[in-house]
Structure formats: structure tokens, C-alpha cells
């Protein structure tokens, strides 16, 4: 049973560029949440997707956008990258059947913006 997978594992970009991160949820899960974790901090909620729509959003600017596909996988897009966007980006999946309570996290994508 495959867990949550994310790609790529590492990424280096320069300021002003755009980046797309990808996530495949755990088998049987229909909900994907994205988190940003800066070094030495706890994860910060970006947004949550289910039924192919953004359902709730954290305190992040519109430069952060996402998408969920019919197979429940998801993308996180960040435009006009800033140095402060350097962080570990975590994807977590959960299921409507489980009331979306327990979230299972992927290994993350480490983004470095130069």
C-alpha cells in the first residue's frame, strides 16, 4: 500500500521564477492538504483540496495556488518566488470516510530560492 508521495524531493529556483510541486495521496484518500515548514518551525497550513476544489485556505498570498485532479493527486504552484519561500513543502492526505481527521504526510519537497 503506497503512502503519500511527493515530487521532486529537492528543487533550486531563483527569485521571480515559478515552481510546481506534485503530490499523490495515500491509496483510498480523496483529500490533500499542503503545508509549508520553514527551518526550525512547525508546518503552516496553506490550503486543502477535495472534490477538485480548494475548500479552505491558510494565511498565504495568491502567489500560492493549487489544483486537484480527478485521480485525487494535487499540485502546488508558487509564482514570483521570494527568498522567504525557501522551505520544506509537505503534502498530507486524508479521507472523507475517516472524516478527514488523521492526515498522512509525504516526505516533502525541499525548495531553495536563491
Amino acid at each position: 500500500d503506497a503512502g503519500v508521495t511527493q515530487s521532486p524531493t529537492h528543487l533550486i529556483k531563483t527569485r521571480g521564477q515559478q515552481v510546481t510541486l506534485r503530490c499523490s495521496p495515500k491509496s483510498g484518500h480523496d483529500t490533500v492538504s499542503w503545508y509549508q515548514q520553514a527551518l526550525g518551525q512547525g508546518p503552516q497550513f496553506i490550503f486543502q483540496y477535495y472534490e477538485e476544489e480548494e475548500r479552505q485556505r491558510g494565511n498565504f498570498p495568491d502567489r500560492f495556488s493549487g489544483h486537484q485532479f480527478p485521480n485525487y493527486s494535487s499540485e502546488l504552484n508558487v509564482n514570483a518566488l521570494l527568498l522567504g519561500d525557501s522551505a520544506l513543502y509537505l503534502c498530507a492526505s486524508s479521507s472523507k470516510k475517516g472524516m478527514r481527521e488523521t492526515q498522512y504526510f509525504g516526505p516533502g519537497t525541499r525548495l531553495l530560492v536563491l
Binding site: Q48, R55, S94, Q103, Y104, F105, G106, P107
Partner: protein
């Protein structure tokens, strides 16, 4: 801010001793969860305690929840070197029906010395 606060920020103990970490939060919650993270990698779900529960056990883990004090504690008994990691509490809210948002604290860095 809804963010929980963990105490202590860092804890170093000898193998075999018990480790206790505390978490406080500010608003009403649906449930509270504890996660472990090894060396900046993905988070591993440890245990979930609902707002109407006071204590829960899982193996060497014991979690308590006091909703009147808005606090929780995680006890790891008979610690092992493999328990060395960062531990995060996450409070769960349902801002809208069907969705769940996790708000993480900054974590406790636990080091188990052999």
C-alpha cells in the same frame, strides 16, 4: 493566533527514562494530534485524541487532554535512541463543514542519549 505552543522547546534525557512534552492552545478544538518528525523529513502521525476524551494510550505513548486548561501532554515511557526526533502537537479545527485544518506548534526537539 490559533497556534499551539509546546514546552519545552528542547529536551535531552537518558535512554530508558520517560519524556514528557506539553502543548497549549488558544481556541476550541475538534481534536488534538501528535506527530513525530525525523531530521526535517515527513511527519509521522502518532496519536489523536478527541475533544471529549481525557486520556489515550498507544504502546509506549500516553496522551492527556484538558480542554478546560486548553492543554495536552505527551508522555513517552522507557525512551529509546530511535525516539530522538522533533515532536509536534497539532490542533484540529473545522472552519467549514467537511474540512479539517491542522494548526501546528513549533515542536519539541527530543534527544535520547545512550
Amino acid at each position: 493566533s490559533q497556534q499551539g505552543e509546546e514546552d519545552p522547546q528542547a529536551l535531552s534525557i537518558q535512554e530508558g527514562e520517560n519524556a514528557t512534552m506539553n502543548c497549549s492552545y488558544k481556541t476550541s478544538i475538534n481534536n488534538l494530534q501528535w506527530y513525530r518528525q525525523n531530521s526535517g523529513r515527513g511527519l509521522v502521525h502518532l496519536i489523536l485524541i478527541r475533544s471529549n476524551e481525557r486520556e489515550k494510550h498507544s504502546g509506549r505513548l500516553r496522551v492527556t487532554l484538558d480542554t478546560s486548561k486548553k492543554s495536552s501532554s505527551l508522555l513517552i515511557t522507557a525512551s529509546r535512541a530511535a525516539d530522538t526526533a522533533s515532536y509536534f502537537c497539532a490542533t484540529a479545527y473545522r472552519p467549514i463543514q467537511g474540512a479539517q485544518k491542522l494548526v501546528f506548534g513549533q515542536g519539541t526537539r527530543l534527544t535520547i542519549n545512550p
